[in-house]
């Protein structure tokens, strides 16, 4: 469904690239986690995958409709939840697009899928961070995507809301969609994603099955900090050993 070959990006007129040499593949129903330190180009990579930024080398082959879940939305207007979600449906229909009855039906279905239907008439800005993230996922679902791309969807959330977002991502993948998300938490990648891409400036990226790629050695090198991976009761855990 997605094949990325040796892609790189640099700002126009810049000498050094933001990233280069990224390779990965993803099939329908799979989740890919992108991990890397701050400034390693995760968001830039995501924007390239969305077609918002042009790559300067390599090739991206994407077979299907993409939808995007930003970290947060910057609307200065106090739209209702339904108004916010239905925008996911009407955007692609040209200059004079008007949301149809079918779009509102899809909106309700998407809100139902993320467990937020009861909030359909509430003000988006009055929701908590976790709830807003769910609404943005619902907005992405409304465009009936084949691939959902999320930029650090759990970065500002508490553990319980992080879990909800991760479960929702799993649910979306179970519906046969490919999911790509960036995160600073290797444990999340280990628990929900089949595949992981580790990115770092001036270093070749590492791609493979999450259980293999998220090794102590790879992660310690990636973050330049000792990181331990082990078991606690039934669960596998990854913890940083802060200096």
């Amino acid at each position: 469904m997605i094949k990325v070959k040796n892609i790189g990006y640099k700002y126009p007129k810049a000498k050094t690239s933001i990233f280069e040499g990224h390779n990965f593949e993803l099939e329908a129903g799979e989740i890919l986690a992108i991990l890397g330190p701050n400034g390693s180009g995760k968001t830039t990579l995501i924007k390239s995958l969305l077609g918002l930024l042009p790559i300067f080398e390599g090739e991206i082959k994407i077979n299907g409709v993409r939808s995007y879940v930003p970290q947060h939305t910057l609307s200065p207007f106090d739209y209702s939840v339904t108004e916010m979600v239905v925008m996911g449906a009407s955007g692609q229909n040209g200059l004079f697009a008007e949301p149809t009855k079918a779009d509102f039906k899809k909106t309700d279905e998407a809100l139902e899928q993320v467990g937020m239907l009861d909030w359909r008439d509430e003000s988006f800005s009055h929701l908590s961070g976790g709830q807003r993230q769910m609404i943005l996922i619902a907005r992405a679902l409304v465009s009936s995507p084949d691939i959902m791309i999320l930029d650090e969807p759990t970065s500002a959330l508490d553990y319980r809301n992080q879990d909800k977002v991760l479960q929702t991502m799993k649910y979306v993948a179970d519906q046969g969609k490919a999911v790509i998300f960036s995160t600073h938490c290797p444990l999340q990648a280990l628990h929900v994603s089949q595949k992981t891409l580790l990115v770092k400036n001036n270093t070749p990226s590492i791609f493979g099955l999450s259980k293999d790629v998220l090794s102590q050695e790879n992660l310690s090198k990636l973050y330049q900090l000792p990181i331990a991976r082990g078991r606690l009761e039934q669960s596998e855990i990854i913890v940083p050993l802060y200096s």
Binding site: L52, Y68, L74, S75, F77, D78, A97, M116, D121, R139
Partner: protein, 365 residues
């Protein structure tokens, strides 16, 4: 996943919605009701404005005079009343209403697109450009219809200036557009000053000064026809794009990720606004504040969704402008320039709206 995982939302809105639903006023019907009420207020305002003036005419006569154009009604009014209503006041009211609607639609669309509550139609430089065009025509003592033509041409030139500066600034983003607008406005404002300096103080200068303050004093049916086509065409275009304004208000990147062709949408709206503003300035001079405050007022009534905000702004703007113009022509022995009055009323009304709404409809994050 179950919605029971998440704590219950505050129920006040739901209760209100239930109550509205009980009376058959679902959200959609509620909007229809708002439009019906606003149309009724506009109609009453028009009749009030037609009957008010140096020569008062009763409501009854105004209505019968208007209806006599459609139905066969035996005249029981004086001929002079009919002339005042149909030839003097009606064209002026129609021009004022159209200008108010155009300014308000423009303001609502621009505030949404620029994602800024302080944006009015003047931000893209078109008002200043049109003002200079009009001033130029007066300066060279050209026939009065040249004022309209020049105002329109220079309005569009100003927009092209703004676009050019925005592109030269290296960005397609909103900030470079705003900066382009500020530079263009300042440039044409200086040209207006230069024209004033060069104008004959006994002849052209007073005309320029009065024209710049704005007035519907000389409005005629030919003005109605002249502005109707551009305002209707551009207004319908912006109205049709009202859902897109919602998406544009999320910011460039998010809008693009939702599949919107941001550049094309943005320039279509800007060009439509430029056409409407130029048309307005060409018949009435520069009228400030209306495009700024009316969208805030409309947002208070119908919320921030531009699919409702744009039509409500249009009706509120037309009503407001007709009311203010009625005050302008009746409050004193002489005519008060409309631009002066809208500014005089606009500043305290804007402050009141801020106090009342605390920018309600705008997220406070």
């Amino acid at each position: 996943m179950s919605s029971r995982d998440i704590p219950s939302p505050p129920s006040l809105t739901q209760r209100l919605n239930n109550l509205l639903g009980y009376f058959g006023l679902s959200k959609t019907n509620n909007f229809t009701l708002q439009i019906i009420i606003m149309l009724s207020i506009l109609t009453i305002t028009i009749i009030f404005a037609l009957s008010t003036g140096r020569y008062p005419i009763s409501f009854d006569h105004v209505v019968r005079i208007l209806l006599s154009n459609i139905f066969d009604i035996t005249p029981d009014w004086k001929i002079v009343e009919q002339k005042v209503v149909e030839l003097v006041r009606l064209p002026r009211i129609l021009v004022a209403g159209l200008c108010g609607a155009a300014l308000s639609i423009s303001g609502a669309a621009l505030q949404g697109m620029f994602r800024n509550p302080l944006v009015g139609p003047q931000i893209i430089g078109v008002s200043s450009g049109s003002a200079f065009g009009g001033v130029l025509a007066i300066l060279f003592l050209l026939p009065s219809y040249f004022i309209s033509i020049f105002a329109f041409i220079f309005g569009v030139i100003a927009l092209l200036f703004t676009m050019g500066i925005a592109r030269a600034g290296g960005g397609k983003n909103i900030l470079s557009l705003v900066l382009g607008g500020i530079v263009t406005s300042a440039f044409f404002a200086s040209l207006v000053s230069l024209a004033k300096y060069a104008a004959d103080p006994d002849d052209a200068l007073p005309t320029i000064v009065y024209w710049l303050m704005g007035s519907f004093n000389e409005s005629s049916y030919s003005d109605v026809v002249y502005i109707l086509v551009p305002i209707l065409t551009a207004g319908v275009l912006v109205y049709k794009m009202r859902h897109l304004v919602n998406i544009l208000s999320l910011g460039e990147e998010e809008a693009r990720s939702l599949g919107v062709n941001v550049d094309r949408s943005r320039w279509t709206i800007l060009l439509s606004v430029a056409v409407m503003i130029s048309a307005t300035v060409s018949v009435s001079g520069v009228i400030g504040w209306v495009g700024l405050i009316i969208p805030h007022f409309a947002r208070m009534i119908t919320g921030p969704n531009h699919s409702r905000l744009i039509p409500v702004s249009m009706l509120a703007g037309a009503t407001y402008m007709i009311l203010v113009d009625t005050v302008a022509r009746t409050a004193s022995y002489g005519e008060i320039p409309i631009g002066v009055l809208t500014a005089l009323l606009g500043a305290p009304i804007f402050a009141w709206l801020l106090y009342r709404t605390q920018l309600k409809g705008w997220s406070n994050d």
